[in-house]
C-alpha cells in the first residue's frame, strides 16, 4: 500500500462509471436496428439472401456456444454472437456459398473474438475481420453477378463499385453515368421516377442520372444488408438518439470521406479537383452500414470525445484511400480494421482531462 491511498490501479483506461443500461441491452438494440435493412435485403434478393443470413447467424451462435463452453460459460443471451453473425450476413452478397458465410462467421467468433478473451476484449471488429478473411480467401464468391427483384442481372456488387470508380475510360462522366454506359440495369420504377423528376427539373438545367432512384431506394446489387440506405440511416439515427452509439463518430467519418471524395474523387477521370461524385460514394458499397453499425462498436473504438474525432478523421481518410486507390473494391471494411489497430494508441494520447491531481503529485 502506497501513501496515495489507492491500492487498485486499473490496468487500462476503461470506462469505470457504469450506467443503468446493461451491455446486452445495447447489443440487442443494435441488432434490432439492423433487422429492417436485413429484411429489405431478403425482400430484394429472395431466398438465397435468407439462406446466407441463416448460415452466418447459425454458425456464429454455434461457434460462440462451443468456445464459451470451453470457459464453462453460456454467453448466447448477451446478443453479441447474434449481432456478429447478422453483421457478417449483411456484408456478404446474396450469391455467396453457404460454407463461405459459415466460415466467415466462425472466423469472426472463434479467432477474432474468443481467442482474445471474448466480448469486450477483442481489439478488432469480429464481423468485419471475418468478412475480409472470406473476401481474401474466396474472392470468386464475391464475383457472382446478382439480380434484384426489380432489375435484371448486372455486374457483381464489388465489380460494379470498381467499375463506377473514375478511371481513364470514364471520359469525365459521373459514377452512375459510367455504370449506365457499361450496361448496368436499372429498375422500371427508376426510369419512371427519374424521368418524371428530370422533366420537372429541366428548366433549372439539372438532370439526374439513371439509377439515382435505385441507389436511394436500395434496389441494387450489393451486400444483403448494405443496400437499404434509408433504413440504415434510420437505424443509425435511432441508435444515436438512444445513445447506443456516439453520433460524432459516423458524422466525422462520413464527412471526412465525403469531403475527400468530393475534392479528389474526380482526379482519376481527368475532371480536376472538386468534381468527385461524393453522394454516390456515400450511398454505394457498405460504407453506411459499416460506419453506423461496425465502426461504432464500443469495444474497438476510442473512449474519449477527442479520440473519437481523431478516429473518425482517420477512418474517413482510410476509407477514401482504400476505395479509390486500393486493390480491393469498397474499402470501408478494411479501413475500419486498419483503424482498429490504432485505437490503443489513440486511447493513450487522447486521455480525459483529470479533474484533480493525484495526491503526492505523482506523474
Amino acid at each position: 500500500m502506497s501513501g496515495t491511498g489507492a491500492s487498485v490501479v486499473p490496468a487500462r483506461p476503461a470506462p469505470h462509471v457504469r450506467g443503468a443500461v446493461s451491455a446486452p441491452e445495447l447489443i440487442w438494440s443494435a441488432a434490432l436496428c439492423l433487422l429492417p435493412a436485413s429484411a429489405w435485403g431478403i425482400l430484394v434478393f429472395g431466398t438465397p439472401a435468407a439462406f446466407v443470413l441463416l448460415a452466418s447467424i447459425g454458425s456464429a451462435l454455434v461457434c460462440e456456444a462451443l468456445t464459451a463452453l470451453l470457459r464453462r460459460e453460456f454467453t448466447l443471451l448477451d446478443g453479441s454472437a447474434f449481432l456478429t453473425g447478422l453483421m457478417v450476413g449483411c456484408l456478404l452478397p446474396p450469391g455467396a456459398p453457404i460454407h463461405v458465410a459459415a466460415v466467415a462467421s466462425g472466423f469472426a467468433i472463434v479467432v477474432v473474438k474468443q481467442t482474445f478473451g471474448g466480448l469486450g476484449r477483442n481489439w478488432m471488429n469480429p464481423a468485419l475481420a471475418g468478412v475480409v478473411f472470406a473476401r481474401l480467401s474466396w474472392s470468386e464468391a464475391f464475383a457472382v453477378p446478382v439480380s434484384t427483384r426489380w432489375s435484371g442481372p448486372g455486374l457483381a456488387p464489388l465489380d460494379a463499385l470498381a467499375a463506377a470508380l473514375p478511371g481513364p475510360g470514364s471520359g469525365g462522366r459521373g459514377a452512375l453515368e459510367t455504370l449506365a454506359a457499361a450496361g448496368y440495369p436499372v429498375s422500371a420504377a427508376d426510369g419512371r421516377v427519374v424521368g418524371w423528376l428530370n422533366a420537372r427539373l429541366a428548366p433549372l438545367g439539372v438532370a439526374l442520372p439513371p439509377g439515382a432512384f435505385d441507389l436511394l431506394a436500395g434496389i441494387r446489387p450489393g451486400g444483403i444488408g448494405e443496400i437499404a440506405v434509408l433504413l440504415l440511416i434510420a437505424g443509425g439515427v435511432f441508435l444515436a438518439a438512444r445513445r447506443v452509439i456516439r453520433w460524432q463518430l459516423p458524422a466525422v467519418h462520413l464527412a471526412t470521406f465525403a469531403l475527400l471524395a468530393w475534392v479528389f474523387g474526380g482526379l482519376g477521370a481527368g475532371r480536376g479537383f472538386f468534381a468527385g461524385d461524393a453522394v454516390f460514394h456515400l450511398l454505394a458499397g457498405s460504407l453506411l452500414l459499416v460506419s453506423f453499425f461496425m465502426a461504432t462498436d464500443p469495444v474497438t473504438s476510442p473512449l474519449t470525445p477527442a479520440g473519437t474525432i481523431a478516429y473518425g478523421i482517420g477512418l474517413g481518410a482510410a476509407t477514401f484511400l482504400l476505395r479509390f486507390y486500393g486493390s480491393m473494391p469498397d474499402g470501408a471494411p478494411l479501413a475500419v480494421i486498419l483503424m482498429n489497430c490504432t485505437v490503443p494508441l489513440i486511447d493513450r494520447y487522447a486521455k480525459p482531462v483529470r479533474l484533480a491531481a493525484p495526491r503526492g503529485g505523482a506523474r
Binding site: 460454407h99 463461405v100 466460415v103 479467432v111 481467442t115 478473411f133 481474401l136 480467401s137 474466396w138 474472392s139
Partner: protein, 213 residues
C-alpha cells in the same frame, strides 16, 4: 543426460520460433508448402551447425583480440555457408530453390544463426555449442513443418511431400482443395498459425514444468 538436455532445450523450452520468436521472417514467408519448408529447415540446420563449429575455431584464435575481429570473421564464415547452402539447393532442388528465393542467402544475417555463432565464438565448449545449434535447428525445423502443414492444408488443400514410386508426392485433401481458404497462405495466415502454435507450445510447456504463472 546433460548433452541430451541441450537438444531438448532447443526443441522445447528455448524453441527458437515458439518461445524466443526468432526466425519469424523465413517462417512467415516460405512456410506455405510443406516440401519447401522442409528444404528451408535443412538449409538452416546445416548453416547453423557449420557456422557454430567454425565460429568456435574463430573463438580460439580471436581470444584477446577484441570483439570486432571476431564478429567480422564469424559473419564472413556464416555468409560463406549461406552461399554454399544456396548454391547446393539450386543444384539439388531447383523448384524449392526458386520458391525460397532470397531467404536462403539471407541466412547470413539471420539472428538465430548469428546468435548461436557468437555464443560459440565467445568460448562456449565446442560440444555444447554444437548440440545447442543442433537443438535450435531441429526446433526451428519442427515449427516450420507444423506451420507449413497447417497453412498448406488450409490454403491449398494439399500436402506436398517427396514423390516416391507411383506416389506423385502431393496429397490432396478433397473438401479443402475444392474451396481452399487462400488467406492462410498470405502473411496474415502465417501470423495466425504461428500465434496459435506459440500459444499451444506455451500451454504445453507450462504444464510440463508443473507450475507457472
Amino acid at each position: 543426460m546433460k548433452q541430451g538436455s541441450e537438444i531438448v532445450r532447443g526443441l522445447a523450452s528455448e524453441n527458437p520460433l515458439f518461445v524466443l520468436f526468432m526466425g519469424m521472417c523465413p517462417a512467415l514467408a516460405v512456410s506455405t508448402r510443406l516440401l519447401t519448408s522442409l528444404w528451408m529447415s535443412l538449409a538452416i540446420l546445416c548453416v547453423l551447425v557449420a557456422s557454430t563449429l567454425f565460429s568456435s575455431i574463430v573463438g580460439l584464435f580471436a581470444r584477446g583480440k577484441g570483439a570486432r575481429a571476431r564478429w567480422l570473421a564469424s559473419l564472413f564464415l556464416t555468409a560463406c555457408f549461406a552461399t554454399c547452402a544456396d548454391l547446393l539447393l539450386g543444384f539439388f532442388a531447383a523448384d524449392a530453390h526458386a520458391a525460397l528465393g532470397l531467404y536462403v542467402p539471407l541466412l547470413a544475417v539471420n539472428c538465430l544463426v548469428t546468435g548461436r555463432a557468437e555464443m560459440a565464438a565467445r568460448g562456449q565448449p565446442v560440444g555444447r555449442a554444437l548440440l545447442a545449434a543442433l537443438g535450435a535447428g531441429l526446433g526451428l525445423a519442427a515449427c516450420f513443418t507444423v506451420i507449413a502443414a497447417a497453412r498448406e492444408a488450409l490454403g491449398f488443400g494439399t500436402l506436398t511431400l517427396f514423390p516416391v514410386g507411383r506416389f506423385t508426392g502431393t496429397l490432396v485433401i478433397a473438401p479443402l482443395a475444392a474451396s481452399p481458404a487462400r488467406a492462410a497462405t498470405f502473411a496474415c495466415g502465417g501470423f495466425l498459425a504461428a500465434g496459435y502454435l506459440a500459444a499451444l507450445a506455451a500451454r504445453l510447456l507450462r504444464r510440463g514444468a508443473g507450475s507457472g504463472p
